[in-house]
């Protein structure tokens, strides 16, 4: 969740219990959670939608999200506000730290023992490509160290053709690249017009882009053999039944010992209880335990 945000004009509004109820509605439907101490962020997001709707109070806005005829559309618009500004490269360094320090060493150790040396990572719902390019840079940077002797690829999928076209082109402005260090920009990007950079061929060669609807059982069934799946702020737009179905697919798509990462404010609570929730410093992953794993064993 973006940590920037303007506080609502009147701080006493935050004491309005309607904001807690809006928080709970959002959590129940989308899985995105906002702790009480950060309610001002939610209030700020709501205030934009309330202005657009000419709604005066959070209580009235809560009605728009729960009982009015347009509630599903309004919830989607609010979720867009909540997740706005989340798409830029190296958005979640803690997830990459977890990959580098815990997840990949664990997976590679198990794979090497079985004689496998190829790593498959999937960015599901990749939007305009910032996430898969981040993963590709991460993997290339680890090629001589952690991934020495291994090969790897990134599958990047999205439902939206326009997003996929932009992702394939790989042209980004300063906003997308704001957390990408200068050495990485020089190594993996080339100038593409004023204030824009384009991913170079080495970077693109790691990624395979494809159009996939996560609700499409026939496609999902065949995307097997994944080691790690990233699916950030995508499932928040799905209803519970669809979420459960997608999670079943992800579980089947992952190899035993594989991990799923969601957006950092998302939760799978009551969506799927087969994944084990694993905490890394600053990040949460969902783990598919290997066959024979029992609680109390070392992961």
């Amino acid at each position: 969740m973006a940590t920037v945000g303007t506080k609502p004009a009147r701080s006493e509004d935050l004491d309005d219990p309607a904001y807690l109820r809006i928080r709970d509605v959002i959590y129940q439907i989308s899985g995105i959670y906002q702790p009480e101490e950060k309610l001002y962020l939610l209030a700020s997001r709501c205030s934009r939608r309330m202005s657009a709707l000419h709604v005066a109070s959070p209580t009235e806005y809560l009605e728009h999200l729960t009982v009015r005829g347009n509630r599903e559309a309004e919830l989607r618009l609010l979720l867009n506000e909540i997740t706005i500004g989340e798409t830029y490269m190296f958005r979640s360094p803690q997830q990459l730290d977890a990959l580098r320090n815990v997840v990949l060493p664990q997976i590679l150790q198990a794979k090497t023992a079985l004689g496998f040396k190829r790593l498959h990572i999937w960015s599901a719902g990749c939007s305009t490509g910032e996430e898969p390019y981040t993963l590709a840079m991460f993997l290339l940077e680890e090629k001589q160290r952690l991934l020495a002797g291994c090969s790897f690829d990134v599958l990047a999928t999205d439902l939206n053709d326009n997003s996929l076209s932009a992702a394939r082109a790989g042209i980004y402005g300063e906003y997308s690249l704001r957390s990408t260090t200068e050495p990485l920009r020089r190594k993996y990007f080339k100038p593409a017009g004023e204030k824009q950079q384009q991913a170079n061929e080495e970077l693109k060669s790691i990624i395979r882009f494809d159009r996939v609807n996560l609700n499409d059982d026939s496609r999902m069934t065949f995307l097997k053999g994944m080691d790690v799946i990233f699916c950030c702020n995508v499932l928040i737009y799905f209803d519970l039944a669809s979420k459960r179905k997608v999670m079943q697919h992800f579980y089947a798509n992952l190899l035993p010992g594989g991990y799923l990462f969601l957006g950092h404010a998302e939760s799978l609570y009551q969506v799927d209880d087969r994944f084990h929730l694993v905490h890394f410093p600053g990040a949460i992953g969902y783990w598919k335990p290997p066959v024979g794993y029992a609680p109390g064993d070392e992961p």
Binding site: P35, E37, Y269, H276, L277, H279, F280, P281, G296, P299
Partner: protein, 297 residues
């Protein structure tokens, strides 16, 4: 190598340190009476004598972490926080004063953030699962790393090397202590806890907070503190460095022990608790800076 026996006399000498406030002894014995016999006015009077403790009580009583009550007097702060919480604050103040600024190898603010974070998570978790004494969980969480203060004081340079190795290798501090010192802050904390006559269950939480399976008694309290310590360490409330770890809480033996006695834990929304810990971070930092933040390096 420093051995646990070599530092035992040093630990015993801590009791007489002049930095321990004069009100500690009378206040401490007052607070250890059964709650219904504690003379509230006497507690208020003693707390008011020590400006640091009085300020800390007011700051905590006014923090959203403890309910934000617009408390302006020491008396209302004592009532708002409760007698048992005053004991924890008192101990926190004493401990904060026993380590000279130049001895610390962990930033003192970082240490207190971890301790206060662990206290808050322990009591919150205790309340969520229905553990009968959340205040004891708070106190145990606050004191669980007492041995770090002991090691900082009693074997300053050796302990500094442990911290440095842990930081460089991204590993848990107690693993480095065991290798370098031959004992950990769990054991040295236990000795000071015994010397200061803490209750046996709090001592067990101090001794076994890195290996809950070894606790013969107070296993629920030990498990609460064990899990809270882990949760703080994975949410930026650790000892100030990156620890390479992945924790499957529901697979931890401490979790399984608690689930046996408190089945609601099995249904708890852990991701939500985690995000609540993140949400409380700013306030924890603010409280620690205001209350303990006098000797930050």
């Amino acid at each position: 190598m420093t051995t646990i026996e070599a530092i035992r006399p040093k630990i015993k000498s801590l009791e007489g340190m002049p930095t321990v406030p004069a009100i500690v002894q009378p206040l401490s014995s007052l607070l250890r009476q059964p709650a219904e016999h504690v003379d509230l006015e006497k507690v208020v009077e003693l707390v008011s004598y020590d400006s640091t403790i009085a300020a800390q009580c007011l700051r905590m009583a006014n923090s959203p972490l403890f309910g934000r009550r617009n408390t302006e007097t020491v008396r209302s702060a004592v009532i708002a926080l409760g007698i048992k919480r005053i004991e924890a604050i008192l101990l926190g103040c004493c401990l904060n004063r026993i380590v000279p600024a130049d001895c610390w190898s962990i930033d003192p603010n970082t240490f207190w953030r971890h301790s206060l974070g662990c206290a808050l998570v322990s009591s919150r978790l205790a309340k969520m699962i229905g553990y009968p004494d959340p205040e004891k969980a708070y106190l145990s969480g606050l004191l669980h790393d007492l041995g770090i203060l002991v090691n900082t004081l009693a074997c300053t340079e050796d302990f500094r090397e442990c911290v440095e190795k842990a930081r460089q290798e991204h590993i848990a501090l107690h693993c480095c202590e065991r290798e370098r010192l031959g004992f950990t802050h769990c054991e040295s904390g236990k000795i000071l806890g015994e010397h200061w006559k803490f209750s046996p269950d709090v001592i067990a939480a101090i001794e076994f907070h890195h290996d809950a399976t070894r606790a013969d008694s107070a296993s629920d309290l030990v498990s609460l503190v064990y899990l809270s310590d882990l949760l703080c360490r994975v949410r930026d409330l650790g000892h100030g460095y990156y620890e390479a770890m992945g924790v499957d809480f529901a697979g931890e033996n401490a979790w399984l022990t608690l689930v046996e006695h408190y089945p609601t834990l099995a249904r708890m929304d852990l991701a939500r608790l985690t995000m609540d810990v993140d949400g409380a971070m700013d306030e924890i930092v603010a409280v620690v800076n205001a209350v303990f933040g006098m000797q930050s390096s």
